[in-house]
Symmetry: C2
Subunit: 82 residues, 2 copies
């Protein structure tokens, strides 16, 4: 079966996020006043697996090995069957 | 009123996405076979505005001026009132 997978990675709470603070400062320079800026990355792909559980396990391994750094990132896996 | 805003930016269809193809190749080297890899960036922040329409207009200007490159990016704005 073909599954469409979405992996959301974001920095763990308390980690400094230089990208977000740069965006906030740059917006302030343009006179936009925004707060609590956060950034999230989404990686979407299609994956062939025998079952939803197998797909989930594979994606979880991918996250641990390559897609995220589990020390500093939180990740969330969404799987939709096709 | 305080609005919580989410801006999703992704490359327009047909644009080369080196980040996505690098991820796909790296996963292939680890024996995971995935297809149609895409990447999406989300920027979330809180914004003070008088109405939802005003908030939307401000965020649209931010996207045009700073958050996206309208030549190569598509963007989507989600606004939730608090």
């Amino acid at each position: 079966m073909n599954f469409s997978v979405e992996v959301k990675t974001s920095l763990k709470k308390g980690m400094l996020n230089p990208e977000a603070s740069t965006i906030e400062k740059a917006l302030a320079l343009l006179d936009y006043d925004v707060n609590n800026t956060q950034t999230i990355n989404i990686i979407k792909f299609d994956l062939d697996a025998e079952s939803r559980d197998e797909a989930y396990n594979q994606v979880d391994q991918m996250c641990q090995k390559l897609l995220c750094n589990p020390v500093i990132h939180d990740y969330e896996i969404d799987i939709c069957g096709e």
